[in-house]
Subunit: 345 residues, 2 copies
């Protein structure tokens, strides 16, 4: 039997290969694999949106610096972000846990405090799950369901030539937060001091972006109030580069994104300089931003310029023009996905 290492395909290559022979058999399945959510039509005037994310200890999180309450909150939020990215409203979640022997009831209660806080904040109901012992570590599998009006659900595939490319908030902060946490953990280990208290003053924003991200419900609300109708949308979880490639591939278009338009927070910039890291790489490929990347018809330029939660970073082009970053010195760089890949670690 042939033996192919999974890292040679990566996550998306593996999924493509495994799911290519599956055919859709039910009328209610409008869109299956390949977007932020599956889109289901169960009758009525609203569509059902479904998304699922897996968080594994030692792969996605490190309990040496992630508090369990924050982890519970984040596990929910990353799923809700996918529902908002379809222009939908999240309504329910299920939470499955695998729990190894080193966790007590009190630990899991702390995790659930975070899950509950996210449910309260986003007005979402916990409706089910499965709980089991695990051989090693903690694992969290969350599925979120939501609804979207039939004529309002936004896929990755709707971008057209001349559309504007926009992104909410700022990028790279969660990634720099992770670098900070990793650095301080190493310092603590080298000092062999259990009570070492790292000093993160002035960098609180970066930590919050890493440990307690929010889903951009406010961006969806602002677009609605301004009358902006996005043509394609997704959330930035693997990094802007990776997501631009997804939208361009799904929509059959190219794009130009301008380096000097990429939104970056001051704390992100000074931390990258201090740590001797490339700032644009951190912003484009860091990931875990949970911002919304979306495209808007050119005719809505005036409305986009009024947005407080998002900004224009580029434009959609014909596919032959490729997916490129226009640098500050006006040269063009081909954008390649360098987003996080769990299989290459």
């Amino acid at each position: 039997m042939k033996e192919t290492e999974i890292s040679t395909l990566g996550e998306f290559g593996l999924i493509d290969q495994l799911t290519k022979n599956f055919t859709v058999k039910n009328e209610s399945t409008l869109h299956g694999v390949g977007d932020d959510c599956a889109v289901l039509d169960y009758g009525g005037d609203k569509l059902t949106l479904v998304t699922t994310d897996l968080l594994l200890e030692g792969i996605h999180f490190d309990l040496r610096y992630v508090p369990l309450k924050h982890l519970g909150y984040k596990a929910v939020v990353v799923n809700l972000s996918d529902i908002y990215a379809m222009n939908g409203t999240p309504k329910q979640i299920t939470v499955s846990l695998g729990i190894s022997k080193r966790f007590t009831v009190e630990h899991i209660a702390e995790l659930y405090e975070g899950i509950q806080a996210a449910c309260e904040h986003y007005n979402v109901d916990l409706v089910g799950g499965d709980t089991s012992a695990s051989v090693t570590g903690l694992l969290i599998s969350v599925t979120a369901m939501g609804e979207g009006k039939k004529d309002e659900v936004v896929m990755r595939s709707g971008a057209h030539d001349t559309d504007l490319v926009c992104v909410s908030g700022d990028l790279g902060a969660a990634y720099m937060g992770l670098q900070l946490l990793e650095r301080e953990r190493k310092v603590a280990e080298e000092l062999h001091d259990e009570h070492f208290q790292p000093d993160f003053s002035g960098r609180e924003y970066l930590l919050e972006r890493q440990l307690k991200p929010e889903a951009r419900r406010d961006v969806i609300a602002e677009m609605k109030s301004l009358g902006i109708s996005p043509t394609a949308m997704m959330d930035v979880s693997d990094g802007l580069s990776s997501e631009l490639l997804h939208i361009c591939k799904a929509s059959g278009v190219g794009c130009r994104v301008y380096e000097d338009r990429i939104p970056i927070d001051y704390q992100t910039a000074i931390t990258a300089e201090e740590m001797n890291m490339n700032l644009v790489t951190a912003a484009m490929n860091g990931g875990e931003d949970y911002e919304l990347l979306f495209t808007v018809p050119l005719a809505q330029l005036g409305l986009v310029e009024q947005m407080k939660t998002a900004r224009l970073i580029g434009r959609i082009t014909q596919p032959e023009l490729g997916v490129r970053l226009v640098t500050r010195d006006d040269s063009e760089l081909e954008i390649r996905a360098q987003g996080w890949n769990a299989f290459s670690e």
Copy 2:
């Protein structure tokens, strides 16, 4: 901080404690935690059913004797069984995988062959998932969605005094299949013979029940064709004892189940005798049967007697009468849940 071992609460106790403070916030959430599925109302004339199950290597399956293709099939089927147990029709699944380094693309393709076979057989669409590296072992998290007509969805809570208690197929076979597989694995290990071929002839049914269970779509279809309307229903995954207690608790009733009515296959009986195990215990507490346990109004006794896929095993009583097994010698034993508990291993 107080430290309570999770095994002191068990799975159901833990879930009760963790979810007791969650309140339902959305109109679309008809029923949350506490049944085979959550029941959601997204408008239209049909309800949406959602269920999720986690399968972990070393806890729920042992790849030394479970072929990956069978595992994929079973991971889907155990979820579809929960949808049928609500009197619904499964429509979509999502599949999330955590995969450690010892697995190749070819291994995962084999797992997906089983997932695809189940999707084909049950007319279900794969619509999403998440795939990640894991530190150790394989984990599979499946969520299934389905639909049920508003006046046809059956909860655990609808059983009434004088209702008939019925169960489909036979019980204890999957458990005896597991005992056989475990025994042969130990023989192989003691012989230090990699090529040892266990002889399972005459016991194929037990292995099939363990390795490739089916969801009882046919039982639902037979009830429909006979005009039987179950009042409460669930699938037998943890064992008949455990499920009877769930139905009686949720419905606020008691029951009498008759030992001599418990359906047991001949292979199950002779294997239990050969292995010196208590047959009734295996049938009542073995679990993984994926049969349907349901209650039916007394007035439908004539219809129930016509069923080929299920049989009458007892009756519902007033709650004061308890949940009891009437033995062959006419004594009554209190039924206690001795179903499988992942946290007590």
